[in-house]
Symmetry: C2
Subunit: 114 residues, 2 copies
DNA sequence: CGGTATCCCCGAAGATACTG
DNA sequence: CAGTATCTTCGGGGATACCG
């Protein structure tokens, strides 16, 4: 919990039902408006989208740019700092993908759920 | 969500209030008995310890060895497969540690909580 | 358009008790 | 010693309504 337990921190920042999807969208889509994000993520509510974006913004992972217009226009993108997460996300992605295969080997693919 | 979203899978496996601590203990301590784990993790209940260990065992990350004795003796350790998570955990740990410093730069260290 | 405010529900996690 | 069973609590997340 003291010196070598900081991977919990990383975990906490990535946790949240929608954070993975949001990160993925921004990594793939570059700069996106609030409504674009919402449309690209079916089933997410404004509340959750705004909330998760705030948290990512607080951690300097996502950048928020407000255009003082009427109607409002707000754009989101990965920050430079946030992009440094990419290798980790990539490593987790690779491990996750291979793990699914590993579970198949262990239990067979005829499972209904994980 | 289809091909490149598997880092959610990794996330899900690591999530759970106690999994990080348990993993850390096993990585540091090698093979440990149930009661050793419980004593080394203050505040965890038997229920949670058993439950989280079951999940890690299901994913082949932790090995469970039962000695048919009275009173019972059960030992837990990282599986060979589970040890392959180490680089990821290490990377997450490093990022987490440096991120804490990053937050300090951004907001100062005089915060009450994250 | 891009939010916030409010209310509600459900599942993860805690407390406690019992068992082979 | 190493669990499981049962009940309860708490907060993340969903639905809905309203606002600048």
């Amino acid at each position: 919990m003291t010196a070598y337990c900081k991977f919990e921190t990383t975990l906490e920042i990535l946790i949240g039902k929608w954070k993975p999807v949001i990160l993925l969208r921004l990594l793939a889509g570059g700069t996106m408006r609030f409504s674009e994000l919402q449309k690209s993520i079916p089933d997410i509510t404004k509340k959750m989208l705004a909330q998760q974006l705030r948290e990512l913004e607080y951690h300097d992972i996502v950048r928020r740019e407000v255009y003082p217009l009427v109607p409002p226009k707000v754009e989101y993108s990965m920050s430079d700092y946030g992009l440094r997460l990419t290798p980790i996300l990539q490593a987790m992605n690779d491990w996750g993908a291979s793990h699914i295969a590993h579970l198949d080997e262990l239990y067979g693919e005829d499972r209904t759920a994980d």
